[in-house]
Amino acid sequence: LHLDSSQEKLLRGEGGEAKQFAMEIVAEVGDAVAADSLVPIKSAHVLAHYSSLHDAGVEVLERFAASGGRFAVPTSVDPASIDLQNWRSFGIPEDYARQQFRLCDAYAKLGGMRCWTCVQYQVCNFPKQGETVAWAESSAVVFANSVLGCRSNKITAGMDVACAVLGLTPKFGMLNDENRVAGVAFKLSAGPLSDLDYRSLGFFIGRNAGSRVPVLEGLPGSVTSDEVKHLGAGAAAAGPVTMIHIPGITPGSKTTSAATGGEKVEEVEVSRSDLAAVEADLNQTNELPDLVAFGVPHLSVNELGQLGRLLEGRKLKRGVKMYVYTSGQAFEMAKKAGIAASIEASGARLTHSTDAEISPLRRLGFNVVMTNSAKLAEIVSSEGDIVVRYAAQKAIIEEVTG
């Protein structure tokens, strides 16, 4: 790794303590991943939720803030571990909330946008094609590379803040053309796709691509950006995927051949039975859930509207809670449009600035979680305490409402 003279100065501490701390991290990681230089970024997206950062993460973020750190580029933040406005009404313990608010305070001191969402590209962080960004949040990184045509590695916790404070990131991985070439082609022929199918398809790709960049053929022309969002989230939850070439959507990849650089690559057929196998794998039980969770990643206003229509005239069964997760911005719009009321009339709760997979579901007493999110299913079941049911939104609503 070659540092230029201004970067050397930061490493020696001439730019202050926070930048020196950041540079120690970024330079050593850059060296480890064989980057030849550090390059400027246009934006950053960082993590500041207590469930994953733990006390170590609180120490790190507070160290950045206390040593005078300021974000050098526009920086957005992933959801918190609690609904930042209504956490008490969700039964969040005080001690837990206190640690989350320490993270919120440190993040605010660093000068970040207080958007608290995992779909920053739908809310507050809008890079344009070709720009280099340093984003955490695996699903957003897939969206940035595959749909926006940006260049981002999956920048993980700690490194994310260091990059944001410097406005720099090591040039490696998905920032280099040669690593963006597709090395495996998935060919989908599974008929019409439900909301669940997009998530399962992503999960299948994540499981089977290994460390190769996939290209995906066979999506219908009607696919929405929300569906691609959930596809990418499923893929990133299941494997190391950071980009999926989708001919017709991914900038620069009009065809599979363009995505593979004209090379012949392994082809993997994806049929209805493969999607069914993912469902069978993620489904752990047939019990009635005590929590239904929608919105991992966060639902857009449009998706909230669709959910409101599905819930019309229905009431949740006794013993079942339904939490619907979105950004604070979409939450406000849904309130103004009457969508929030249509969702909450069923007994469901619309919640914002947090998300299910990073909230203390076990501490809140949930045992069976039902969702249409492959990402949530994967994460929640990983911890082994909560069992998961995985089904399409419509099927879930039919089962848990009367």
Binding site: A32, L47, E137, G158, G210, I379, S382, E383, G384
Partner: protein, 142 residues
Amino acid sequence: LTAASLLGRGLVAGDASGGALLSLKAFTFAHGVDPATGTVTDVRSDIRGANVKGKVLFYPFGKGSTTASSWFLEAVRLGNSPSAIVTEGVDLSAVIGSVMARVVYGREIPVVSGVSRADYSKISSGATVRVSSSKGGARVEA
């Protein structure tokens, strides 16, 4: 004489040893290892129930959430991290977690990549493994 000597790429430098803990599936610390104990909890892991503390942990690739490095760092803070990590592909979470461990807590946890599943699966689980990792290269001896 060593039973096996594997060469890899040294991502984070350092020397360490410990019992071999071998996973053949994509691995994550995020929601997959309890930092308070070091126990692998991930239901999809082939080493669920094993403890990573003090072990030389082998797995092919990382997966999932970008929070993995902070779960790793919390395990370091609580003294429950592996002593070294050896992978096939580069797991950025392991690299960042290890760099943070040194910068924040002064702990040295070498990370090595480029050791294939086919090669490391020949090591017996629990066998004492020595890892010597530097920018020039890395050697894993069992």
